[in-house]
């Protein structure tokens, strides 16, 4: 049968298990911020790649002009 004396000793046991839970959740929170940063950086890199692709296609369009001049 579950013995849950929430009087004296129960508090300490609960505190210990809460500390354990808190440490795990803090860890998850820190990893979450790292994940957010990865996501943001990937977005920037995506943008960078697109700009590059756009610039490359612009150059292709510009090329015929000097020859025509």
């Amino acid at each position: 049968m579950p013995a849950l004396p929430l009087g004296e000793s129960g508090k300490y046991v609960a505190a210990a298990y809460c500390v354990f839970l808190a440490l795990i959740l803090i860890y998850v929170a820190i990893m979450a911020t790292k994940l957010a940063r990865i996501e943001r950086d990937l977005g920037e890199l995506n943008e960078l790649a697109e700009r590059r692709a756009a610039a490359a296609s612009d150059e292709e369009e510009d090329e015929p002009e000097p020859v025509a001049r």
């Binding site: 210990a16 500390v19 440490l23 795990i24 790292k34 990865i38 990937l42 960078l48 590059r52």
Partner: protein, 242 residues
């Protein structure tokens, strides 16, 4: 590469941990001497055991890195030590709570596990500052590996020495693995397995995350090239880099 199998592993871990906690509170009997407070034992001792194994594993990966030069071993070593340090803090806190509940003091020198962990914690707390203070990535990885090996060898020696330092008049007070009834033993074993699975899950989790960041940085360096308006975000960190 590191994320493979992570989903299954985390599901297994959830089942094991919930199962272990359920056994702790619903199945294992109350201890004869300490009563309900003894339940902390199922948290404190598995934390301690897994943390110690983690430190030794960090040392082993240090050896592997020095022999092969594969940066991934260095990353594994770093994450193992990092996680073990967190578990060591949890061990110290739970041990302290247990001491307070049993003896009324927040710290007892008579408990060799707690004392050894304090020393080990003081040692490994220097790992990240050490890494952070060496700038060249190759040297950083090498020196960190040497540290992890020396510290890993130190851990068992330390335990032996501290245990011997216990005067015979003060027997070990908090841990009681002798003469445990079968149900307690089962719960205890399951707690250890659950904690170990949790450790490995978090280890793989952090490895995958760090590896992703490393590859991202590589990708950025490759794409940066001649681009003007973009400067690399230079943030020093203690973590291994490619």
């Amino acid at each position: 590469m590191f994320g493979r199998g992570l989903k299954t592993l985390s599901c297994v871990t959830v089942v094991l941990i919930v199962g272990a906690f359920a056994l702790v509170f619903f199945y294992a009997p109350n201890d004869a001497d300490q009563g309900f407070i003894q339940k902390i034992f199922y948290l404190h001792v598995p934390l301690a055991i897994v943390a110690l194994c983690g430190f030794v594993a960090g040392g082993i990966y240090g050896i592997l890195y020095l022999r092969s030069g594969d940066r991934m071993h260095d990353l594994r070593s770093y994450v193992a030590i990092h996680l073990s340090l967190i578990l060591a803090v949890a061990t110290l806190i739970s041990g302290s709570i247990w001491a307070r509940a049993s003896w009324g003091h927040w710290w007892v020198w008579d408990e060799p596990t707690l004392v050894s962990f304090l020393i080990v914690f003081l040692l490994y707390a220097c790992y990240q500052p050490l890494r952070f203070s060496i700038e060249d990535p190759q040297t950083q990885a090498r020196y960190a590996a040497v540290f992890s090996i020396v510290a890993g060898a130190f851990v068992p020696l330390n335990f032996m020495a501290v245990r011997m330092a216990q005067s015979v008049a003060h027997p070990r007070v908090l841990t009681s693995t002798t003469a445990m009834p079968g149900s307690m033993f089962l719960t205890f074993m399951l707690s250890i397995v659950a904690m170990a699975c949790l450790y490995v899950t978090l280890w793989k989790y952090e490895l995958a995350s760090k590896h992703a960041s490393m590859q991202l940085r590589q990708l950025r360096r490759k794409l940066a090239g001649e681009d003007d308006g973009w400067t690399p975000r230079a943030r020093r960190s203690a973590a291994p880099q490619l």
